[in-house]
Symmetry: none
Subunit: 195 residues, 4 copies
DNA sequence: GATGAATGAGTATTCATTCAT
DNA sequence: CATGAATGAATACTCATTCAT
């Protein structure tokens, strides 16, 4: 009878938008960006093609939203380093977070590794990606410094590369022993301390 | 003029074929598979669209030929492990080969990381890729075993992941300190020995 | 607050309706019928898309209402011929009225020339337009007859065509010497008389 | 067997291109630009939709080609004024050409009057149109000068407006007495001479 | 009355592929 | 062998219109 309130509309919009993003991400991850059509996305989401354009001006903008959402989620997953009394424990917890992330957001990471590498997309996101990578390196560097390790930056770089490489392999090999590798790495880290 | 011999024809065909493969590979690397059209390839190769179909039954088959050619080239790049008396030296030399390869064939690796990740291609080559990865792990495992390290397989896995992760980062960041990272890794490997 | 009376409601409805018509007419004039969307009209009018359908059953019906409103306005603009004792003076005054109209309602005529010619509209209004044209011809014919000119109908036709052609040129050329042309025509008309 | 020659291809292209332009112009004239779809044009021309894009990059470019072709045809129809010994005869022949043009190219003129007035299109072609109009006025002015008439430019302007107005009326009224009007105008022109 | 989310038929455009010559 | 005109199925996107609230 009475028209919907602003809040009601806002809630509807949020729900629809998130639904589209989620469905599209899964499809892009599974079949690729170019091979997933707007029609397919709409069908998977049980909505009309047109609705997608109520939320995203183009397929490319939808992709952008997915990537942005993904980055935001990663940021949330990797909470700011807690200035703990025990920096080594902090680092271990950091690494565990990454692995947990790999496990719980497998679809996103698959999507991410696949999408980010496509030339046109790479061109657009190379800069933010580089920035993101630098920030991670700095963060890890600082942690290593606080443990008084020699060559903290190189140590940080190898750890970052190692983690990304594991993500990469995990996608190629669905039987990847993620937990074993995680424990091995953490074990090594702790052992070094006691050295 | 005497008619061309069977061999001459065959040679011409091969040359044409290789030319198409080379041109298409460059276009795919620069702009992606889906965003490069047969018309573009034909234009770049200075031939007609129709002629491409004399050599490849479809665009997909052309892609397949490109990938196969690429794999063959990788095989040539990575020389067979020399069974040395000093396994640790062998390993160091292996790692150095990889880094050298990264440096001298940067464009090629960029192309490969980009191409291999595209879903359609990934689907087809996930299996061979997984096999290739396994072989590398086994190879490294064996080397680690011969140095009597504990957890040789996990050690192999982390090293492989580390090397791939570095390749990944090197593509993202054109200022990547490849040499520093290489020396750091090798130095660590040797240090461990003396522990 | 007492409930609004029936009349108040009716007045509100009329005002809303007229507002929509006015906004839509401006948009159609500026950007054309097909290139102006209901969404744009609603936005320009500061109302919702749905509301437009409370007043007009379809976009086409809205157009129809605009045209009808426009015709009514034209009727108001062109005052009925004053049956003067001096038909030639009447004719001169008629012509002067048209030119004055062209000058003071330039935007309106521009809109009308543009709108009337669009096929969809033309189809609907070709008949009324033809009728309107015929009436004008008859009116002018009668005037010419009363001045005892030979071929009054053809004279009327050429005068009508001349006036429309001038309107057309005036729209194309913003520097059109409307006054000079007007004086020239009227001067000729008077001269002929004295012949 | 042997491939087609360059000339053969050129001939095919010419034929196809002209066919598309001709069919599209008729459809645009009959139903309007926006209401005629590429699919309709293709169907009317008995070709595939795709073929149209082999010749025109977009619907708008097709429209452009039609208009340019039309202008070119008009130019051919209105041959450069022959410096005759009898300028009045020249003028009569000019006028006769225009009327003949109206009759034989009715479809184009219908299209032209309808299309040119649409806002977006008008914006694009207002300038060339104005230029074209100016040229015609100058041409007619010169002719009038050579007959030693007073106010040659105004005379030229009224004649041009008259001719365009007649074109306009002819489109509105399919029973327009084109021949009568033509004879009347020419008759008047000759009479003036003898005055 | 009033809102704007949702629909779906329709549109321009692309492009791998075929084929007559 | 080689050409490029022609095809047609697929795709992204638009927009008038509906309808639950």
């Amino acid at each position: 009878m009475s028209p919907r309130t602003e809040n009601q509309f806002e809630a509807m919009r949020m729900k629809s938008r998130e639904n589209i993003i989620s469905v599209a991400m899964n499809l892009f991850a599974a079949n690729g960006y170019h091979t997933s059509s707007i029609a397919q996305i709409a069908k998977s989401a049980n909505i009309s093609k047109g609705l997608i354009y109520n939320y995203f001006a183009s397929k490319e903008e939808l992709l952008d939203a997915i990537i942005k959402t993904g980055f935001a989620e990663i940021d949330q997953m990797l909470p700011p380093v807690i200035e703990s009394e025990n920096p080594r424990a902090t680092m271990v917890s950091e690494i565990e977070t990454v692995f947990q992330n790999y496990q719980s957001n497998f679809e996103f990471w698959k999507f991410y590794f696949q999408i980010i590498m496509q030339p046109k997309i790479f061109e657009i996101y190379a800069q933010p990606l580089k920035t993101f990578l630098s920030e991670q390196i700095v963060k890890l560097s600082d942690l290593f410094k606080s443990i008084c390790v020699s060559h903290p930056e190189l140590k940080a770089r190898t750890l970052a590369a190692l983690l990304d490489g594991i993500g990469f392999h995990m996608i190629i090999d669905e039987d990847y022993p993620l937990d074993d590798v995680k424990n091995f790495i953490i074990h090594n880290l702790i052992q070094e301390e006691q050295k």
